[in-house]
């Protein structure tokens, strides 16, 4: 307000006493737009409470606001949460979420950090913010016992996206249990405006039991030291941004992702299946790379990713160290709504079979009779079918449906003890033969995904289904070639 009035005052004076030429040169002298060579010199003029958000959301952009004194209030909570269906974990958190609240600042802001350790907590904690220029990134000043509060202050000088984490001994254990988050320092004038912004952070977890072993799973220090992760997840647990919780965007919107990687051990090969990242602020700093397929995010590092989705549909964010995505949980969804744009993506135009010998792509034969008839008939016993089916399963099915038929919650439906499977054998045959898309309900949970048609013959379908029906407490149906054939001929 003050600068507004002063400039008005000068303006009036100028109009009264000066020539228009002087007006131009001396009167457009707004104090507020002054630039500072050294961020240390940027003055702060007001005190405000920082807006903090839990993932995947981020606070409002700083825009054109001046540097201020920002009060950040955080409570450390040790609390039980869900790692995946049926598996719980004792998380240690900043403000109750993993990752902790997102802090959004601009260069020159002076942060007054209030760190509170809940009285019911068992342990002392502290915080190291990578955005701090000072010993231990604040860790030195912030060790706080249960039931106490510590206050420390720092000025943010370097624009970028930074990780914060607990640095109390043993440091690795505090990070492995979820004590991390991101702090953004925007440049003077703010980042360019975009339509949607999200907060995504990867972390690896080490549990006594293997992936999916039910119950409350304690932290396993030995596995952590050996870097043998059971879970690699985005935003604290498996399926945090999948199904109903998928990130929602519209086709054509500009999207900015603030992506961090807490580790404690693993480096992330961050990739979005089906999209090219238009811009990546490499390692969260100032360097911008363009048209990136996969960007490396170090443990204790971050990246700002900007993109625009051109075609509607589901896009998966994964750690492209790909077993982490499909077997350990490092998978999240972006759901883009909007009009199809065939100039960008046409979808499947035609399906054929490819025969290297023939050199030409041929149409599928209309009748499978010929193909099947050409094979020597052979009666198999149920046991033989199960044995052969198991091989097919491990070659074709298990990447999505998982070794024990457990599926991946929210993404790939389970086959083990699955009501949907046991209810209708012909439907199951049909799905393998012709694929399936759209919403289905399996064991009370909704799945809305796509399974492509599997190009395997009648015998293989019969065998793999017999294996599935005779595993994991399913109903023991034996599927024969005859049954598969009937389904094949129906259409």
């Amino acid at each position: 307000m003050i600068s507004y009035f002063t400039s008005r005052f000068y303006l009036k004076m100028c109009i009264l006493v000066c020539l228009p030429a002087i007006l131009l040169s001396s009167c457009i002298n707004d104090q507020s737009s002054k630039t500072y060579e050294d961020a240390v010199d940027i003055p702060v003029n007001q005190e405000i409470a920082a807006e903090l958000t839990s993932p995947p959301f981020v606070p409002r952009a700083v825009g054109k606001r001046k540097a201020k004194k920002l009060i950040v209030d955080m409570e450390i909570q040790e609390r039980k949460g869900q790692m995946t269906d049926g598996v719980s974990y004792m998380y240690w958190t900043f403000n109750g979420t993993v990752p902790g609240s997102f802090i959004r600042t601009r260069v020159g802001d002076e942060i007054e950090f209030h760190l509170k350790n809940h009285p019911q907590n068992q342990l002392p904690h502290n915080i190291d913010l990578h955005a701090v220029n000072g010993p231990g990134g604040g860790a030195v000043s912030s060790l706080v016992a249960p039931g106490h509060e510590t206050v420390f202050s720092f000025k943010v000088l370097n624009p970028g996206l930074y990780v914060y984490h607990c640095a109390t001994a043993p440091v690795g254990m505090h990070i492995a249990n979820g004590m991390y988050g991101l702090i953004l320092v925007e440049p003077d004038g703010g980042l360019e405006r975009v339509d949607k912004e999200f907060y995504v952070m990867q972390g690896d977890f080490y549990t006594k039991g293997d992936y999916g072993d039910p119950g409350l799973q304690p932290f396993d220090m030995k596995k952590a030291i050996e870097e043998d992760a059971d879970y690699v997840v985005f935003n604290g647990h498996v399926g945090a941004m999948v199904g109903d919780n998928a990130l929602q965007v519209n086709v054509g919107e500009t999207i900015r992702l603030f992506v961090g990687n807490a580790g404690p051990n693993l480096v992330s090969s961050f990739h979005i299946i089906g999209e090219i990242m238009d811009k990546v602020y490499v390692e969260g700093g100032t360097l911008v790379n363009e048209n990136v397929q996969t960007t490396l995010i170090p443990a204790g590092g971050a990246a700002i990713i900007e993109l625009k989705i051109n075609a509607p549909g589901e896009y998966l964010m994964v750690d492209h160290s790909i077993f982490r995505a499909f077997n350990k949980g490092a998978l999240a969804q972006i759901e883009a709504k909007g009009e199809k744009n065939e100039r960008v993506y046409k979808g499947k135009i035609q399906e054929g079979i490819y025969e290297p010998e023939g050199g030409a792509i041929q149409e599928m034969p209309i009748s499978y009779k010929e193909v099947e008839a050409s094979k020597p008939p052979e009666e198999l016993t149920k046991e033989q079918r199960i044995g052969l089916g198991k091989n097919i399963y491990s070659n074709t099915c298990f990447a999505c449906h998982q070794p024990e038929g457990q599926g991946i919650p929210g993404v790939f439906p389970p086959l083990a003890k699955a009501d949907y499977l046991n209810a209708d054998v012909n439907r199951a045959i049909n799905i393998i033969m012709r694929g399936k898309s759209g919403e289905i309900t399996v064991n009370g949970k909704n799945y809305n995904s796509v399974m492509s048609a599997q190009s395997i013959g009648n015998r293989d379908i019969a065998n793999v289904l017999t294996y599935i029906y005779n595993s994991w407490e399913n109903n023991g149906t034996e599927v024969t070639e005859e049954m598969v054939k009937k389904v094949r001929e129906k259409k």
Binding site: E78, R79, M90, P119, Q120, N121, Q122, L123, P124, N126, D128, P135, G136, A139, V140, S141, S142, L143, V144, A145, P146, G147, H148, A167, T168, A169, P170, V171, M173, N177, P218, F219, M221, K222, I225
Partner: protein
């Protein structure tokens, strides 16, 4: 007045008699141990001493404040105890429930714990004494290399909001002492003599501390458990009164 004198005399007598026979205390035989903060060559000698078998209970602490009004929560000076002092008691001299009687007293400051022990003719154990006695599991005086021992301790450190159990509800160790692990944290006389700076990864004089944690080997888990105790101790001050921090007393053997 008379009562006070009796207590005073009593405590004088107690301090002058070797308490090897005290049924509430266990005898801990002297020995050497390598503390977390030392190099392998640094060995600490711990003399014979007596240690309370159980942490001090709420019931016993009620007796203490009845006799020593200045340690009641309405009377205590804030430099000696912060405002969480005895937070779970109903009032100055009454507990919230009958069950609390046998639970360890917590929300207790270091000054208060020290005064209590002094009044019994005892003292707080030193950090080395406490760590030395706490190396034991059920069968061994030094079980720190056993994985099960360390897992038990780490498991407890990880669990917040533990409902307080009665004293004696964990295991009896080699020396006949209960509850050193798994019940509450405990004050020691010189709790802050080994500071893990709050920046626990720093070099300099804390280099040894950090290096021992960084070493890969059989001792890692043991160090991690000990690290958490040292970190906890470094985070507190003498007047802090914390929900899961209690104490027990020790005593010299007078030859």
């Amino acid at each position: 007045m008379v009562l006070k004198q009796i207590i005073f005399l009593g405590s004088l007598i107690i301090t002058n008699i070797a308490m090897a026979q005290n049924p509430e205390m266990a005898f801990i035989e002297n020995g050497v141990y390598t503390p977390l903060y030392g190099r392998d060559s640094v060995q600490i000698k711990v003399d014979d001493f007596m240690l309370d078998i159980y942490p001090v209970t709420n019931e016993k602490y009620v007796d203490f404040v009845v006799k020593n009004p200045k340690w009641r929560k309405s009377e205590v000076k804030s430099i000696f105890a912060d405002n969480h002092y005895l937070a779970k008691w109903k009032d100055d001299t009454h507990l919230d429930s009958e069950a609390q009687k046998y639970e360890p007293v917590t929300n207790i400051s270091w000054f208060a714990a020290k005064a209590y022990c002094k009044c019994q003719g005892k003292r707080l154990p030193t950090l080395d004494e406490w760590e030395y006695a706490a190396m034991a599991d059920k069968t061994l005086p030094d079980a720190r290399k056993k994985e099960s021992y360390n897992q038990y301790i780490l498991g407890w450190y990880e669990r917040p909001k533990v409902v307080h159990q009665q004293v004696g509800s964990t295991f009896k160790n080699f020396w006949g002492v209960y509850d050193l692990h798994g019940l509450v944290w405990e004050w020691t006389a010189d709790f802050n003599s080994v500071m893990i700076t709050s920046e626990s990864r720093s070099g300099g004089q804390n280099n040894n501390l950090f290096c021992s944690a960084a070493a890969v080997g059989a001792t890692d888990l043991m160090n991690y458990a000990a690290f958490m105790r040292y970190a906890f101790r470094s985070s507190v001050k003498g007047n802090y009164s914390i929900n899961n921090l209690g104490f027990r007393c020790a005593q010299d053997i007078i030859k």
